[in-house]
């Protein structure tokens, strides 16, 4: 491929690519201006090295990796100034809601016992599910969401998250557990209509 026909010179390709990069960055950063900046940086870095790729899919995967690394670096730096282990009122609220699911003996209260969600494959192909999923993710408190997304979307191991955010492994586990409980409750309430399937 000659430099003239680099996919990064193709407006349609770049527009579609930016759209996907932005979706990924916004989800992680919750800040549109910052997301735009990071995408700009990632594209600039890609432009400098893009000639090594001769397939658009490979190029896109590579640019996503550049963006991912930039976001991880950003969290590493900002993680030092925001104390993710401090409990905000929203996070305390999630913990209270979780505790309320159990009886005094720590077993599920009768109407809080998790019900079957059915076949995941059937759920994951429904467009409307993703609207709810997106809303539930965005509904998580900021620090809780950050740790969860570092784990699930930046695909970091918990040890790497602990190092990046300067928190203990125990703390990391507590936050991930909180995030999963918050998400499962949100999805249960808003997607898996609880009345119909409770046992």
């Amino acid at each position: 491929m000659s430099p003239d026909t680099s996919p990064l010179m193709d407006d349609a390709f770049v527009t579609a690519l930016r759209h996907d990069l932005l979706k990924f960055a916004r989800l992680q950063l919750r800040n549109d201006a910052l997301a735009e900046d990071m995408i700009q940086e990632a594209l600039a870095a890609a432009l400098a090295g893009a000639r090594r790729f001769d397939g658009r899919a490979a190029l896109k995967t590579w640019i996503f990796a550049i963006l991912r690394n930039k976001i991880v670096d950003h969290f590493r730096v900002s993680g030092r100034v925001t104390n993710v282990s401090a409990l905000s009122p929203e996070e305390a609220g999630l913990d209270q809601a979780f505790e309320a699911l159990f009886k005094a003996n720590e077993h599920w209260a009768r109407d809080a016992r998790p019900s079957a969600w059915g076949d995941p494959e059937e759920v994951l192909v429904q467009q409307r599910f993703w609207v709810v999923f997106d809303a539930c993710l965005n509904h998580l408190p900021a620090s809780t969401a950050r740790v969860f997304m570092m784990r699930e979307f930046l695909e970091l191991e918990t040890a790497e998250i602990c190092r990046a955010l300067d928190i203990t492994a125990g703390n990391c586990n507590v936050i991930l557990h909180r995030a999963r409980n918050g998400l499962r409750r949100c999805l249960d309430k808003n997607w898996f209509s609880p009345e119909s399937t409770r046992c």
Partner: protein, 63 residues
């Protein structure tokens, strides 16, 4: 004997680290008797699947 509350904690951690033998055995013993926690485990694993799918869709430009 694990409580359901303790079991949920272990099921979450199982997504992030390999559980020790004793942890695994007490969890399996609990799950064998507890439908609620068995459903909880499926839900936590659903969350992982959903995140993977979400990520793949964004990367591949599917809405």
């Amino acid at each position: 004997m694990l409580s359901c509350r303790q079991a949920t904690r272990l099921m979450s951690e199982a997504q992030d680290r390999k559980l020790g033998l004793a942890e695994k055995m007490s969890l399996e013993l609990h799950l064998a008797m507890c439908k609620g926690c068995t459903n909880y485990r499926a839900q936590v694993s659903f969350l992982r699947d959903a995140c993977r799918r979400y990520l793949a869709d964004v990367r591949d430009g599917r809405e």
